[in-house]
């Protein structure tokens, strides 16, 4: 009898457990309906994003996502097509002749979502909060040269630099950290690096509903000062897995898959070829390059670097590995950035030339051997790649095969991404993959890392005979206030870099988008990190 009781008890416990579980699920059900079920409200779209949107703090980085930060917060000036800087929260600005004083005239019709209006005081408060944690933001050039900020009057804000720095406006257009949080979003002590109380911005979108790791729903800001977006609602579902994203899209749970590297090249082509969906590629975002470290004894010889650059069929490699999603690159920087449209002779695929360069450099092929030697030492190099990146891996293997043909032994080493970055920063590599930063960061961030040590690029160039001269040119370009002179300097810098072949451009990477045909209009934003939702139109 007693035994039976025990069993009954167990059974009861199990039943209670089950019901609690089910109750738990169904209460979830009621509360999360808004974000979870496929939203078919007219004039709305649902898309996926690989990571949770984070804390929506305009002044911090990871885990906050650029895409959503740019929906809520706005810059003083914005970066548009071709690198043109346009008024945004500032309707106009003046730069003093010496390039040190920037005076911004603010728009007067802008309000934050907490009802407060935008004025010079709140702009200054945001600048102060950012500068308070300068050490987090030193990567952004303008932060290092801001000497003081001042609210001149209600609608005039002044920024004084310690030295002239021409890309100051470009730097103010980036998505973080110089964007503006409303008064009620600030914590009591004003230190936003430790968190904000609520995401209060001036942007066209308002965060309506959010569940960590699951979804975020944005609705149109009814009091937006600028042109209102056509869409009323944007639902962002957090889907970490690329294949699941595609399946959800094919089922119709998503209207769009947008972002960098969010879909495999196979899947993109599969969706494109199905003919049922719209697909598009952006202008070049950045260049996928090889970094040949000139401090390596073998690579310190320009002839060797040129030989390597001539000795692989770039077009076939890029086409074959990226399935047409990337484009062969001849120039280190693509020409959709400012100051980059310079005349350059592309280095073509030419095995004979490659061989003659190596012969000239004294690397000859001993009888019966396949690897060239000089003074008894074989021509052996190591290419480091991120082992989780299938494109880097395939390219490394292709190069290994191609370069064997001219008698170069390439050892390829797959490493962890964090190791790759660390080794690059320390200059501890022969050959590495490298990418520039894209709009609105380039070309000035690019030339900056060529001159400034700490990122691996200056290190790789440090053995060039004209390095000191190059650094001086870069410094001059960054400080120059004259457009023509600046262009001249860029021409010189880019030509030298191209001729020296430390950076070997491979392909231009592009952003992808796939969308259902209910979306009638879509265009990529000029700023790589900005959201695309203002321009989207859906059929009713």
């Amino acid at each position: 009898m007693q035994l039976l009781n025990r069993r009954q008890m167990l059974f009861t416990v199990l039943i209670i457990f089950t019901f609690t579980l089910l109750a738990g699920c169904s209460s979830e059900d009621a509360s999360s309906e808004s974000g979870d079920s496929t939203d078919k409200t007219p004039n709305s779209i649902t898309l996926s994003w690989p990571r949770d949107i984070g804390s929506m703090n305009p002044h911090v980085y990871n885990p906050s996502q650029l895409l959503t930060q740019s929906m809520i917060y706005e810059p003083l000036v914005s970066y548009e097509e071709g690198g043109e800087i346009k008024p945004h929260l500032a309707e106009s600005w003046d730069v003093s002749e010496d390039g040190l004083e920037y005076t911004f005239k603010l728009r007067e019709d802008v309000t934050f979502t907490d009802g407060s209006s935008l004025n010079a005081d709140i702009i200054k408060k945001n600048f102060d909060a950012v500068l308070e944690n300068k050490s987090s933001h030193t990567w952004l050039g303008v932060i290092n040269v801001i000497e003081k900020t001042e609210a001149v009057d209600d609608s005039t804000f002044k920024m004084v630099l310690s030295e002239p720095y021409y890309p100051a406006l470009q730097d103010l257009a980036v998505v973080r950290p110089v964007r503006f949080l409303g008064e009620s979003g600030f914590p009591e002590d004003g230190d936003t690096s430790q968190g904000i109380t609520e995401p209060v911005g001036t942007g066209p979108w308002v965060l309506e509903d959010y569940k960590a790791d699951e979804y975020a729903v944005f609705t149109r800001n009814p009091d937006y000062w600028g042109e209102a977006p056509e869409l009323e609602k944007v639902t962002i579902k957090i889907i970490p897995d690329a294949e699941t994203r595609v399946l959800a899209f094919e089922k119709g749970e998503l209207d769009m898959i947008y972002g960098e590297g969010v879909i495999s090249m196979d899947s993109f082509n599969h969706l494109k070829e199905s003919g049922e969906y719209e697909t598009d590629l952006s202008e070049p975002l950045a260049t996928r390059s090889l970094l040949l470290n000139s401090t390596n004894e073998k690579l310190s010889d320009l002839n060797v670097r040129l030989a390597l650059q001539h000795a692989f069929n770039k077009e076939a490699m890029v086409e074959g590995i990226t399935l047409g999603l990337e484009e062969k690159a001849d120039k280190i920087l693509s020409t959709n950035f400012p100051y980059t449209d310079v005349d350059i002779d592309p280095i073509e695929y030419d095995m004979e030339k490659a061989v003659s360069y190596l012969e000239e450099a004294g690397w000859s092929l001993p009888d019966g051997k396949t690897i060239r030697e000089k003074d008894g030492e074989p021509l052996e190099l190591e290419l480091m790649y991120d082992k989780t990146d299938p494109i880097q891996k395939s390219m490394a293997e292709t190069l290994q095969a191609e370069w064997t043909a001219i008698g170069v032994q390439l050892n390829i080493a797959g490493v962890e991404l964090t190791d790759q970055i660390e080794r690059r920063k320390a200059g501890d590599f022969d050959i590495d993959f490298w990418y520039n930063y894209g709009a609105p960061y380039d070309p000035h961030s690019f030339i900056n890392v060529v001159a400034e040590k700490g990122w691996g690029v200056a290190e790789a160039h440090s053995n060039l005979p004209m390095k000191a001269e190059l650094d001086a040119q870069i410094e001059e370009a960054l400080a120059s206030q004259d457009e023509e002179e600046r262009q001249e300097l860029y021409n010189g810098i880019l030509n030298t870099l191209q001729d020296q072949s430390v950076i070997v451009p491979v392909s231009y990477m592009k952003k992808t988008v796939v969308y259902q045909d209910s979306i009638e209009e879509f265009s990529f934003p000029a700023n790589r990190d900005e959201h695309p939702f203002n321009e989207i139109k859906v059929s009713q």
């Binding site: 579980l21 169904s26 979830e28 979870d36 990567w139 968190g195 790791d213 957090i238 399946l247 749970e253």
Partner: protein, 314 residues
């Protein structure tokens, strides 16, 4: 019974201390410098000065023993520190993600039990029948299909093609179906075979023959006696697997966008978020220990011989 429980509970303390020690040692052995990892996560360009300052703040300059004592002290108070990346307490991050993982783990275990108990039992009783062959087939399937692949196939067939369930996410009961099946298939495979084997073993025992000669109903013998004893190894297995499922079903959470513990842990590893990794490892160890304890207690109920054995031995 009570003394047995006390003994078991006391034994947990050194195990947890050992788990903390292992975690501590492994993190110190790894080449990652916590100060540097913090700066990288906080987007601060590391200079020697800042690094030294952070090392001081994290107590990395103290002796290893002091650091260990400090770690144990904090963990006992459930203070795992703040995540380097989100800057919020690790404990809070865990608590917000735990319910999702628990729900998925429990629903998968329940599904596994509901399917494998009858299937395993029947395939033993009706050995070599259709049902036995079917269970064998299912076992092969469950043991050999990789989980992520099964997940994709289920999504493709039942969500995309047949439109019966949602592809991903969490919310309604429908969201539970595909991830639970994905997780439980492997469990079903194991438990069905396990139960079948142990029922067959029990059927050979003298008490079954004795019961039959006494004229006890076959059904009573099977359900009340054989099954109750035969289920014991399965319970042990369940306990171990519950621990495993609760610590995050990493692949399934990834494939079905399930907002659980495992996904969070993966991000932490990629970001070298040491407080989170540390908290996770300790909690995982505790969960395993607690689950095993619960199973042992359950077994006491199911099979009184165990507690007798314990008593006569002590």
């Amino acid at each position: 019974m009570i003394s047995y429980l006390t003994k078991r509970l006391l034994a947990v303390i050194p195990i947890i201390l050992f788990a903390i020690f292992l975690m501590f040692a492994l993190i110190r052995l790894s080449p990652v410098d916590p100060a540097e990892a913090y700066l990288a996560a906080a987007h601060i360009h590391p200079t020697e000065e800042i690094l030294a300052e952070k090392r001081q703040e994290f107590g990395l300059n103290e002796s290893l023993i002091m650091q260990y004592v400090q770690t144990v002290k904090q963990i006992v108070q459930l203070d795992f520190g703040n995540s380097y990346v989100t800057n919020t307490p690790v404990w809070q991050e865990v608590v917000t993600r735990m319910p999702a993982t628990i729900q998925l783990a429990v629903s998968s275990i329940l599904l596994a039990v509901i399917v494998s108990v009858p299937l395993g039992f029947l395939s033993a009783v009706y050995k070599n029948s259709v049902i036995d062959h079917f269970s064998r087939f299912l076992a092969y399937l469950g043991a050999s299909i990789p989980q992520f692949w099964l997940g994709y196939i289920l999504i493709f067939v039942f969500a995309v093609q047949l439109d019966l369930f949602p592809v991903e996410g969490r919310g309604s009961w429908q969201h539970f179906v595909l991830p639970s099946i994905t997780l439980s298939l492997a469990l079903i495979a194991i438990y069905t075979r396990l139960l079948r084997a142990s029922v067959l073993e029990e059927l050979e025992k003298v008490y079954v023959t004795y019961g039959r000669t006494r004229g006890i109903k076959e059904k009573t013998i099977m359900v009340k006696h054989v099954l109750r004893i035969a289920i014991s190894p399965m319970l042990t297995g369940l306990g171990m697997n519950l621990g495993k499922l609760l610590t995050g079903t990493i692949i399934v959470e990834q494939v079905f966008s399930w907002p659980g513990f495992g996904r969070f842990f993966i991000e932490a590893i990629l970001n070298r978020d040491i407080p989170v990794i540390q908290g996770y490892v300790v909690l995982a160890a505790c969960l395993f220990i607690v689950c095993n304890l619960i199973v042992d207690v359950l077994q006491l109920y199911m099979d009184p011989r165990i507690s007798w054995k314990g008593r006569t031995e002590s």
